[in-house]
Symmetry: D2
Subunit: 402 residues, 4 copies
């Protein structure tokens, strides 16, 4: 949720905001371009959504929270879409069953593109009227950051869908092609200190990053880089998935119940590990960061390595202060040991838009940083991503602390 | 499965068989024509399959059971399709998970049409070679009747998918538009007698219709026509769904667990009943046959009406002998009280093709006749359709006996 | 359910009926004697019931269907028992949740014995009054046969409970100690014929054995004895549990889902088979009949052996006519290929007592004969036992036909 | 887990330790005394355990962690108990299936008492030998605190079992009889400060209370007493269970899925609320603390009341410093908003005993204080109890913060 006091330059001037809007909206369409009509319609599991649904829901967000409030003589593009593309906003009313989004063969992808264009045009019209500028800016920024979140989900959800297909089709994005390795592991030590946590600068943030507040962190060290595939292979080779002593009790039950023996998308080919990527099936790269691990696996790996996961306060403090740290952003979301909880003094915004974050603050764990699929302008040191402990289809990795 | 002794004229002469092949194959494509690419790809429940899958699987059947055996220098169109489009033939090998057929966004619908055309051409080539005529005819006939079964499923599965969509889209077929009512109900009485049951004539039949054998039927009466919507409404109005005395114990549990209060696709609009059809949502027609009821509902209705469901032997005897009976074919499959079981002396064919029928002879009930979605040439008095007792998405209705 | 026309001598005279009542009631108590208070209270699975519940429910049956109707100034022993010990009679009203019968730690076993004694005394009092003799006799006979059914369940349910316990305790009954082997296998042939099926003689029967009617059976042969453990071992050794070609499709799914590789209660000890019995863990006896197989396993074995299961009409015809057949009664219930269905003309009795049989006539298979745990006076050629196809905790075996 | 540095006087002297051991062991037996043999054997749900199991498992703890290590010539009382009564220690080996503890009708309650007496005697023997005093003291203390935890579970689990029984039997303990009301609600304010959290004093604590460390708490206020039944009734009367805006998203799903409309054990009797207690069904007392609420309900109530739940650091700071606070101990465990997580520097003990706490630190929430069923000597300001968010069968209540 947007802080209403947000006064970043980008939010203040018409043309810039229009440009940002057009650019973000175009990027969503670009992500869908390599996919077929059928790829865009299917839903591989309840946690994921069809690309078509993402494209429609992000438009619904602008239509419902901006056009419906501010457009003169507002008429919905299609009244049925109010229910069909509502994700979880009880304040807006009914919702279509989440697990059946892949059954919405109508509207067609083409109609959803028409919906997008209609919403785009009306938003851009609104932006040209100086009278509404003031009201529209904060909600528009929220909508754009919301759309960026769904852009990452388009990538992860499509990867999951294609990964189930025995034909193992190529998405065609190169987001996950190998990068230069980040050098040797160094442990950075941070002395005990009261630190400021949360968002304070100008510029956009979600409501869950506020209010800025103080936390005391004891002395700790943080790894300069993420755990690599080679390191994770050593854990597997040492019987990591068959020794309960490394695992949280619930994690141990989880790997038994789901017969899990390696990260998601790994395939064993004789003695060799392969990996399904956005570019198809490839050899596993030893020096690249391990991806697609759950919180349970991250915690078990850390226990095996004689370390632990950082708290989100430790991570944020380090990210704000320590330039020698590598792979903070753009490689993998990094599991922290912090349960997702409100900051002291947190209050959700009134109305439906307040359902954005607060109501999910239970039984989820915070991930920090950003991944290879996160739009670069979407990442910042105070950003709090969150998923249940068994989540693996996101680009999630491990940074150790001790 | 085809009886190998089958010597119907249609199976004997090249041109006719080629024509039949082309006609049946074209009809499948015609059924898919009103559907969008997305409609063809989605699977609304594990019991149903995507239209695209039906189109591919029926081609797979010809490729696997005919081309692979008889084509000189056989090469599969795509080796991966052997697994992807195998429905349930363990003798052929691995199968893709049934409940995930809707996730097969690749191959595309276009590729499946290419697959169909490729198989069609190769089958027609084979048919032009006199040397293979003899071997191909019985399997080809089996394949065509198999495809006709899937033609009905294309209709029922697409209806189910569209019926879940809050937009309630129109399929565009008019199969279920109202027909002239079949006159007043008459009870036809049949004296006790040994009768011959099963297929004996020339012409195609499935293996489960054989061998012809004798059964003794006690005196019984059969209703001249199917139970109507108006009659079924009276059952509902009388509290039929809330009185356990009419229900099989398992049926009572089933309506509780699924909160069932009326046939599938019915919608209450105040005091009036509407019904989702292939032509969209329409008023329920009182004098038309009730459709989309389960075995449990059919048995409960019969108990309420002071009657019972016929056995399949009773139905077949009547269908063979009594011209005054109406709606035997072309309106709705008619639940019988007979569990699906092998006829005395039944033996499945050797090999994978023998998995066609026999292995399903447990915990299913036989339906007789044919429905509005059954190709007319596919129906006959000895035909045995079968589904579990809770099945409703087929065009299934009720004929009473006593 | 009792036929009301029943006029067997036993039902006609007071003293004899009292004696029968006392003897049957005492036998239930005797079956519970080797069990501890805790054994009597636990429920090992939803299909089974605690011994204590069986002891109470059989008393409830007499109290509800006889005392409540015929006793002058009837007052229930405990009004709460009406719900607690109602098994499935919707006509009587509410029922306690079946799967939670093991949680009814109150009333205590001692109180249930007091309940039994109270009901016994009041029934015997009633029997001494000539005025009610006429009305009570048929219901009392029904109640006694009902209690005999629960006597068998006491044995099978307690065996199941003890079998789960790693201490593998001894029940202490010797019902299943080895018997003399029934000689060599002989195939008895029966010519095609119209036969009378169902109960016609004087004496008690359940409503599902009526009305007597005619069926035509084609020529068939029946094995003189049951399949032995040694024969079943040969099936296992030949890979019977890993070859789908022998299995019904649903049976194949069932063995996969439940990881089933042998009959219930078998344990492999190196190269040897052991078996949990009422007398503890014993060596498997090769020449004894195989016990505790499901319908799926029986059908798979028959397919492997090149035979099939008999229909219930075939079984009944043979049992009525052919003295050379062995092990018809007293060893194991014998799966037939017949789904449990009403005989032509069947009608359940009016009122709650009519729920006894008819409402279960779906998705169950008929077993014929009787088992080592069936009271001898409870068995007859027309008796129809029935269970779902996956049932194994009963003493169920295999007689082949062809 | 015990801190090995523990040097409390109680741990240092033989006689005192023996006395403490005998007293704690006798109290478990006393809690079981009002229950019948059958009550002691049943398990009402997987989260609960039979009383008999608690009595055996606590003995198993002493036998496994003390006698097996320190007793000369150790022989197990019964080798099978090592598996049967292992709760969750993977380091010890196999475990009996948790959800089936109620099926262990053997050993009998009598045998379990014999097991207890045997273990008691051998422990007391050990305690008389000065040579082992030093080694035994810390483990014995751990075992006694472990037994006290199970003493509370005996009460909550038996209450749950009896509460399911329609006879609603009386346990007979008076732990939950009404207490004098704690006066008016006062809000105590605490200024922002770095505070020491965790256990530091002499005396026993579990490993999860260590190490002592610093946390910064912002300014907050804490309610002087717990939320009352009358206050919670106002929440219900205001539609609290039907307004999603008060609920965590997961909590909202949870009340829908489980049809929850009030705390556990409440029953509506017309306009009045009744409540099942250890003393049977009683009128709900308006001025008593609300009991048996889940984390979801506690959080929803707090949101409705314009407040929030305290963090565990806030609670501990207040409990250590502020004598005006009421009902900290002995009424109800108090949900905090803190997920159960390791303190900075936490390390579990090596070996099986280290499985006591650390492996459960995921997806659970910390409760502070103690309840009416907690042995008084078991409570302290640093104590961390923990349960999943949907837990209600514990005596759990609400203290508000803001």
């Amino acid at each position: 949720m947007l802080k209403l006091s947000d006064t970043s330059p980008a939010a203040g001037t018409g043309p810039t905001l229009s440009d940002a809007f057009s650019a973000v909206r175009a990027y969503s369409t670009a992500l869908a371009a390599p996919l077929s009509v059928e790829d865009c319609a299917a839903q591989s599991m309840p946690d994921a959504s069809p690309t078509k649904w993402h494209l429609a829901h992000t438009s619904w967000f602008f239509e419902t929270f901006i056009l419906e409030r501010l457009e003169h003589g507002f008429k919905p593009f299609n009244p049925a879409f109010r229910i069909l593309f509502n994700s979880y906003y009880n304040g807006i009313g009914e919702k279509f069953v989440r697990a059946q989004r892949g059954l919405l063969t109508r509207p067609s992808l083409q109609e959803v593109f028409a919906y997008r264009e209609n919403v785009d045009r009306r938003i851009l019209d609104l932006l040209e009227r100086p009278s509404t500028q003031h009201q529209i800016a904060p909600l528009l920024q929220l909508g754009l950051h919301h759309e960026q979140q769904h852009q990452e989900l388009i990538v992860t959800d499509a990867k999951h869908l294609l990964g189930i297909n025995p034909l193992q089709p190529v998405y065609g994005l190169d987001f996950d092609s190998p990068k230069a390795a980040p050098g040797n592991l160094v442990w950075h030590e941070f002395p005990a200190e009261i630190v400021e946590i949360g968002h304070a600068e100008d510029g956009f943030c979600f409501d869950n990053e506020t209010p800025k507040h103080r936390q005391f962190t004891e002395t700790f060290s943080l790894a300069s880089k993420l755990v690599t595939n080679a390191e994770y292979c050593a854990f597997i080779a040492d019987g990591g998935y068959s020794k309960p002593e490394y695992w949280l009790s619930e994690g141990w039950d989880w790997i038994q119940a789901n017969a899990i023996k390696h990260p998601l998308y790994w395939q064993r080919n004789g003695q060799q590990w392969l990996c399904f990527t956005l570019r198809g099936v490839k050899d596993l790269q030893p020096d690249q960061a391990v991806l697609h691990v759950s919180y349970y696996e991250a915690a078990a790996y850390a226990a095996w390595a004689g370390a632990r996961l950082p708290t989100e306060a430790e991570w944020e403090r380090a990210a704000k202060s320590e330039p020698a740290l590598k792979q903070l952003f753009g490689t993998a979301w990094q599991w922290t040991s912090s349960a997702y909880a409100p900051y002291p003094g947190f209050a959700a915004a009134p109305g439906a838009v307040g359902e954005y974050n607060g109501k999910f603050m239970v039984n989820q764990y915070v991930l920090r940083g950003s991944s290879l699929a996160t739009p670069a302008s979407h990442a910042r040191p105070t950003y709090r991503n969150f998923f249940p402990a068994g989540t693996r289809w996101q680009f999630s990795g491990i940074r150790l602390a001790r």
